[in-house]
Symmetry: D2
Subunit: 230 residues, 4 copies
Amino acid sequence: MRFRSDVTVKLVRSLADDEGVVQAARVSYEGENTPSAEAEGLINFLMRNKHGSPFEHNSMTFYIEAPIFVFREFHRHRIGWSYNEESARYKKLEPVFYIPGRERKIVQEGKAGTYTMVSGDEEQWEYVEGLSEWSYKNSYRMYTRLLEEGIAREVARNVLPTGIYSSMYATCNARSLMAFLALRTDDPSAAFPSKPLREIAMVAEQMEDLWTEQMPLTAQAFKNQRRVAP
Amino acid sequence: MRFRSDVTVKLVRSLADDEGVVQAARVSYEGENTPSAEAEGLINFLMRNKHGSPFEHNSMTFYIEAPIFVFREFHRHRIGWSYNEESARYKKLEPVFYIPGRERKIVQEGKAGTYTMVSGDEEQWEYVEGLSEWSYKNSYRMYTRLLEEGIAREVARNVLPTGIYSSMYATCNARSLMAFLALRTDDPSAAFPSKPLREIAMVAEQMEDLWTEQMPLTAQAFKNQRRVAP
Amino acid sequence: MRFRSDVTVKLVRSLADDEGVVQAARVSYEGENTPSAEAEGLINFLMRNKHGSPFEHNSMTFYIEAPIFVFREFHRHRIGWSYNEESARYKKLEPVFYIPGRERKIVQEGKAGTYTMVSGDEEQWEYVEGLSEWSYKNSYRMYTRLLEEGIAREVARNVLPTGIYSSMYATCNARSLMAFLALRTDDPSAAFPSKPLREIAMVAEQMEDLWTEQMPLTAQAFKNQRRVAP
Amino acid sequence: MRFRSDVTVKLVRSLADDEGVVQAARVSYEGENTPSAEAEGLINFLMRNKHGSPFEHNSMTFYIEAPIFVFREFHRHRIGWSYNEESARYKKLEPVFYIPGRERKIVQEGKAGTYTMVSGDEEQWEYVEGLSEWSYKNSYRMYTRLLEEGIAREVARNVLPTGIYSSMYATCNARSLMAFLALRTDDPSAAFPSKPLREIAMVAEQMEDLWTEQMPLTAQAFKNQRRVAP
């Protein structure tokens, strides 16, 4: 049994750079009335004017390890995203489970669409860690027992919790990634602030860092536009 | 605590009939060289020739109750589908869990992409029912305890199993529904047989029945074409 | 030969109302922390917080007549849109052509991504009307001649101009419609102003009026949020 | 003025190989019951069983020059496709026009959804070539005149015919490309034969050749499955 408080995000394949945005934009927009072909100015112009299509001609494939409850939210992003997730029908899942780290706020205060999350006290933390571990262990033991009795993986796995880790390949382009980041990061500079689940934000933040290395001018233009996806 | 072996599928809103297919097709295809405007012939012509777009101008909203592991597969259908699922961040989930019914095959035989499912023996059934119930009860008790300690719903729910029931609205059109049915039903007449998870097939079969009442000629044409979605 | 300066937009089928948004949202968000179930407040909450999915469970089918150059832009809207357009492969196109009305600005001033459109002078208007008509007539005569010689419609139509009228069915939902309206209307109240082609804006404005009749609270919430699509 | 009978298709950027399909599939399907990890067998298994998602984690960007009437059909492919086409709002279009080559069948025989195309006689060819050229020249002259009078490009271009060449970047993945090829090529080996417009088939054939160089095992598996896209 392993207990983790983090997520894994790796960029496994990528064909994504700022130059590709410029090239695609030039096919559409080049003419007398477009800004100079200088990349930075053009990319900011596209972002500001919500010309989104030039940001689509690229591809990034990420390998992600995260709990199932994160992937449940992730898969709601339908457009410009491709997924292949580990299947509990085809293989036995490993006993790796999520326990929140101490920096994760675990208590909710307030009401009616306006609540905020705050840290718990020591006793609450001990409950989260102790009860989660105990529950995870018990569920996994039942899973193992069912498999030992010859029950199919696709039936035995029903008892496994959404806190178990899974893994997937997720492929997107810069435009679909920005739409994801706008909703799944919690950034005070955003024109439209979002309050995502902390664990999907942990994935999103790592994706943003990896993307920024690939397409620095585009990532900067996204920030300049206060994280409004084009 | 409730244990269920079935799923709920209701058609809550629908604007879908065969006549709408005919009307849309006439905009595109009417002219000297199309079949007579008689609905049945035209719909079969469209299905056979993979003219898919006339099947998109309609809408069906289903209310579905099923275990989370079913919704996990369902949400992989991205195109022409809209979802709103109950959120465990916003409300406490009810203790309703899935136990396979006796007609569900629970043992896997064979190997390498060619396995088949067979019924279990009495002892195996008792294990599935007994261990699943026991595991579900334990997980839900831990969930309740965490909530009682003031832990946020979005943290406490991590211990809940994928066998717990959730509910959602799912909206599609006839074309996106046919693509779903082709993959998520197990029908010997299909040109491209599929081996879906039994529980999602239970949902799919009910959706197909409800759809067939709305669009009988289209549903028949889908069958005539051996369940190949246009 | 007919010359038109307008476009036709009719709502031919619709299953769209504010109540459907509320019902879908309640499946996902109802719980202790959501706003009161009162429709107007809930819809504004969803729009403001970019919870877009509840706006997808509805359907509107429009019949549109507009020049081909409008449909060229329209078809770039890929997601949540279904189209069936009149086909020049299947039938002979009617001689109906677009001439700008006098309120349409026809002269471009300024440069480099910042130009504005202004009205032309009388002489320029006479050129637009006279040369367009003359050119349209000539193209259509060549088209007719080719058909008379037994040439296939799909070959003869190559000479027809993009100013010829076509017709289509276009089906969308409130969310995909808002994304379209945000880009294809020119509204000074918009948070992100757009400078669409005037002729597609003429279509968009009529669609917005028809939609507003169906979903008045949703349309008002879109305006309240300065036309930022969720 | 230039008259062309061909289309240009270049692969400008590509991150696409068979190994990527295998890697993505292994995340989902690897386990006791999948075929050996050997690439060819696995890819054929995926294609045969319509496991389409592993074919999505790749990207190909094509540069295409073709007449507008080809792009009109192309843009109807919405899913897994990104486009940036030359804009007649932003720049003056060049006088390059399409005239069918002699191998293109230009006469239609038969009726009611079952017509076939046949070659024309010498006189018919002379009409197609002569009238098309004459019509194109006249339309382009009117376009030029309008521009000379100071009329905006976006108004003047309405008189230009759909036979004028445009250019675009089109980005897809192997799955969306196969869906396109299944409909837009005319191949007697296809399980579901299609009768595409000849000119879009000319584009599709070149795309297929370029794709086959990138992903030979996948392209062969597509052929093995009689061109049924997964």
